[in-house]
Symmetry: C2
Subunit: 87 residues, 2 copies
Amino acid sequence: MEIGDWRNKIDELDEQIVKLINQRAEAARAIGELKRTSELPVYEPKREQQVFDHVCRSNPGPLADTELLHVYERIIDVMRTLQRREN
Amino acid sequence: MEIGDWRNKIDELDEQIVKLINQRAEAARAIGELKRTSELPVYEPKREQQVFDHVCRSNPGPLADTELLHVYERIIDVMRTLQRREN
């Protein structure tokens, strides 16, 4: 495969990743609403640690756990902002 | 659905997201090798802009484009490091 073929492959993967991150945002938004009605805090460090642990356990490579966590820190950051926005 | 149900849903989504980000890394690594043999630079701002544009065009919401780009900046950053590591 040439560079152009790999880039087409990456574009296809990005479409799926974008879709899934948005589905994750829908779920985070629903949780944000439930937290609001239950008066629970948006920031729950214990749950965030569980997410990071689960991500590392699910990691097949070639990315190192630290590299994947680097991405997930941003995902969690964006989701937390989304939950606050809905409050 | 209760918070626990949504969190199970998020865990399932994360497993898929982790898998796809790693597939993306495999493709980026392959491109890194081709760049090396062709003596092309790792950093290609024009291609990175194309990726960001494509991500925004593929965005169904509820995330805003800026939020999605916030995540993608990290993805691209990690992929670039990966390509350098292989060099």
